[in-house]
Symmetry: C2
Subunit: 152 residues, 2 copies
Amino acid sequence: MRDDLPGRPCSVAAALNLVGEKWALLAVREISFGNKRFDVIARNTGAPRDRLAARLRALESAGVVARRQYSDHPPRYEYELTQAGDELRAVLLALRTWGDKWAVDTPPSVFGHSCGHDLDTAVICRHCGEEVRSDELKVRVLTPGWTRRGPA
Amino acid sequence: MRDDLPGRPCSVAAALNLVGEKWALLAVREISFGNKRFDVIARNTGAPRDRLAARLRALESAGVVARRQYSDHPPRYEYELTQAGDELRAVLLALRTWGDKWAVDTPPSVFGHSCGHDLDTAVICRHCGEEVRSDELKVRVLTPGWTRRGPA
DNA sequence: GGCTCGGGTTGGATTTTCAAACTTAAGGCG
DNA sequence: CGCCTTAAGTTTGAAAATCCAACCCGAGCC
């Protein structure tokens, strides 16, 4: 993928540039479930094997997953999440919460949280602990040379 | 996009089926910034116009954005977020926080939060208020007929 | 010898994506 | 009037990504 993104300089765009390709986040989901092997990831995501191989290579060079050889002769590899990959869980959780509400009739699976309840997530501000609401944010663009086009 | 997804039944996959195509989330980002017009969204995302038109139609039929005519003769439309679209902000915030840390050298923009600090987000469990950690979750798959393949 | 397992690669058809040019319908300017 | 601009797309033709099925290779098993 190209490195200088078109449009507004934005870490959302930069993030999607790394993990926004088809199957990438589902591969991360499977690895986060502890499924480290190519075959299992392929079956559980439904991704074509060639695409999955390409994505895992891309995720590896993006620093999201690490590929570990667990056997010589024949060479066999498994995948695990780096710290960057592990922190993608927050994105997956937000997507899951949204998907449960807006993309499916009834949640196909539920996360039991250690607090004893089923998980329902919110995104909060670390400083004040409050859930983030749309009208409470003011964007400051720090990139010189980016002239805002259009309102807001 | 096809409606019966391959692989593990999962609301992350279902969510990505609706908003995971290229440019979709960036279009939502722009609309969430108050940029309602096609031209502005096209410039600020960098998306090709034909793709953007197709995405906005898809997002509309997914119930994420609404298209409103603001002029007859010539017909002109603008876009706004539905409640579903608005709630995608949680996903965008999680992606932004991740991207700021892992996808760019230095954040190209910052959100000032109404609490007085710059925004830094965390994903918490609504029940206990604690930040969600990977090892605290137990998946329960509710879909009958889905036999777990591979560990976890 | 022939089966399976694991982690891919290869080939060829199908879809998507892309950038640039074009369309349509006003409105403004001189 | 003629010409430029704004707005929201559509069209075109070529390039790139995706998909699926089949193949490969080296073990280990029966």
